[in-house]
Amino acid sequence: MTNNVTPLKRDNRAASSEAARSVIIEGKAVSKTYRTRDGDVPSLRPIDFEIADGEFVVVVGPSGCGKTTLLKMIAGLLPPSSGEIKIEGRVITKPHGDVGIVFQTSMLLPWRSVFKNVMMPVEVKRLPREKYEARAHALLKMVGLEGFENKYPWQLSGGMQQRASICRALVHDPKIVLMDEPFGALDAMTRERMNVELQRIQRETRKTVLLITHSIPEAVFLADRILVMTDRPGAIAAVYEVPLAKPRTLDMLADPAFVELSQTIRKHFNAQTGEL
C-alpha cells in the first residue's frame, strides 16, 4: 500500500527533514467563548501555538474540548473571542481560501459526480478549469479513485467517499489542510488503511496538515507533533514530538517507542476522567 504509484510526487526532499521551516500558522492567546442565552460558555481557554510549513500536527482531546472550534477559527469560519490567528503573517478575520477542509462525513454534494465534487473549489474560486481538471484527475488517481469520476457519491463506499473529499480539499492546492476527525466514521480496518494513505498523500503533496482525532494510535501514527488538549474549556495540556521516523508502517504500532508515547498520552485522559 505504501509503495503505490505516485503521480503527484515532487522532488523527494523528505517532508520530515528538519531544515529550518517557516511558521505558517501562528496563534496568540486565542480563545473562544460562545454567547448563549444561558450566559457565556467558554469553549477554548487562551492558547498559543505555532505550526511550521509542511508539518503534520495532530490534536487529540476529549469530546467538546474546543478542537473543532480551533479548526474553524483557523479556517476563518469563526472569529476568535480574543487573541489572533495569523497565517503566513496575515491576521485571519474571514474565510481565506488557503485551506482545504475534510470533515468526519465526506460532505460530498449528492447531486454532483465525484469529479464535479472534487472540482467544486475550482468552480467557486473561478480558477482556470483546464489546468485544474488535470490536477483533479491526478489527485483521484493518487487516492485510487481512477474510473470513479462519473459516479455519484452514494455509489461509493464510505472510505472512497472520504478519499474523494480529501481530493476536494487538495484540488486548489491550498497550503493548509484541516481535517476534523476525517476517519471517525470508518470501520477500524479501513481507518488504518486510510491512515497509511493519508501519510503518503501528505508526504507527496507536502501540505501543512492539522488533524483532529479521538484516536491516540492514529495521532501517534500520523503526527510530527501532537497537541494534547484538556477537557472543556479546552487548553493545551502537553505537546509531544513523535520520535518515529517517517514513512511509518503499520508494523510500527508495536514499536516500543510507539507504545510508550501512546501510553503517555492516554494518561492525560485517564487523569482527566478521574476528576469527573
Binding site: K72, P95, M107, L109, P110, W111, V124, K125, H172
Partner: protein, 267 residues
C-alpha cells in the same frame, strides 16, 4: 433476465397493476353493497350506470374537463412561481421570516372555500376566481416544503462552501437550491392535487363551465351517475397531472430518484 415465471405472473408483479386490481375489487364491493343493502339509485348509483354514463357523456365530460384543467394548471404554476421565491425570501432574511411566516401559517386556518365567493364578487364569473382558488390552495405547501428544503442543509456543508470563499449567491445555487429540490418537488406534488380541489371549488361558486359546474348541476338534478362520472374524470386529471410532475422530477433530479426510499423515510 432468466426469470422462469410465466408472463401473466410477471404482469401481476408490475407496480402499476396492483392499484388497478385494488380498484376493481373496490368497484365489486361497491356493486355488492348496493345489491345487499338495497341502496336506492338516487343515493348511490350502480357502477355499471356510472360506466355507461362515462361512455355516453365522454365528449361532454372531456370538453368540461378542459377549463378545469386549465384553471388547475394556471393556479399551480402561480403557486410555484410565487411559492418558491417566497420561500427564498423567508430563508434569506430573518426580517421577512419573522414578519411574514407566522402570518402565512395563520392564513392557512382561514377556510379558503369560504372566501371563494368573494373572488366571484371581485372578479366576476369565469376563469379568474377559479385560478385564484387553485392558487390559494396550492401556494402554501410549496412555501412550507421549499423553506424546509432550503433550511435543512447541513451546517458543515455550508462551512465547507464558506471556507472555499463562496459568496451567498454561489452558496445558494451550488448548495442550497439543489439540496432543496427534492423537498420542493414533494411540495409541488401536494400542491397540484390541492390545485384541482381549488379549481373545483372555484367552479362551484362562480362558473358555468368545468367539471365543478357539472358536479353541481348533476347533484341538483339528481343525475347521480353523471356526478360520479365527473368525479372519475376529476380524479383522472389529478392523477395525470401528478404523474407528469413525477416524470419532470425524474429528469430534474436524477441523482435523487435512486435515493427516493431514503427520502421518504427522512421526510
Amino acid at each position: 433476465m432468466a426469470d422462469p415465471k410465466p408472463g401473466w405472473q410477471k404482469l401481476l408483479q408490475a407496480d402499476w397493476i396492483k392499484p388497478l386490481i385494488f380498484l376493481v375489487l373496490l368497484v365489486v364491493f361497491w356493486d355488492l353493497a348496493i345489491r345487499l343493502f338495497r341502496i336506492p339509485p338516487y343515493q348511490v348509483p350502480k357502477p355499471a350506470d356510472v360506466i355507461a354514463t362515462l361512455w355516453a357523456d365522454w365528449p361532454m365530460l372531456l370538453a368540461q374537463a378542459v377549463p378545469t384543467t386549465a384553471a388547475t394548471v394556471q393556479g399551480f404554476i402561480l403557486s410555484a412561481l410565487f411559492g418558491i421565491p417566497m420561500a427564498m425570501l423567508i430563508v434569506g432574511s430573518r426580517t421577512v421570516e419573522s414578519y411574514v411566516y407566522p402570518l402565512l401559517v395563520f392564513s392557512q386556518s382561514i377556510p379558503k372555500i369560504a372566501i371563494a365567493p368573494l373572488f366571484v364578487v371581485w372578479f366576476g364569473f369565469g376563469m379568474v376566481p377559479k385560478v385564484l382558488a387553485a392558487f390559494l390552495l396550492g401556494f402554501f405547501p410549496v412555501v412550507v416544503s421549499a423553506v424546509q428544503g432550503f433550511k435543512s442543509v447541513e451546517p458543515d456543508m455550508l462551512d465547507l462552501a464558506r471556507a472555499m470563499e463562496a459568496n451567498r449567491l454561489q452558496i445558494f445555487h451550488m448548495v442550497r437550491l439543489p439540496h432543496a429540490m427534492p423537498a420542493i418537488f414533494s411540495g409541488l406534488k401536494v400542491s397540484i392535487t390541492l390545485a384541482v380541489v381549488g379549481a373545483v371549488v372555484g367552479e362551484f361558486v362562480g362558473s358555468n363551465s368545468g367539471l365543478g359546474f357539472v358536479l353541481q348541476r348533476s347533484i341538483g338534478n339528481f343525475e347521480l351517475p353523471t356526478m360520479f362520472a365527473a368525479l372519475v374524470v376529476l380524479s383522472l386529471i389529478g392523477v395525470i397531472l401528478f404523474w407528469i410532475l413525477d416524470l419532470i422530477e425524474r429528469f430534474a433530479i436524477p441523482w435523487h430518484a435512486s435515493q427516493r426510499q431514503d427520502f421518504i423515510v427522512a421526510a
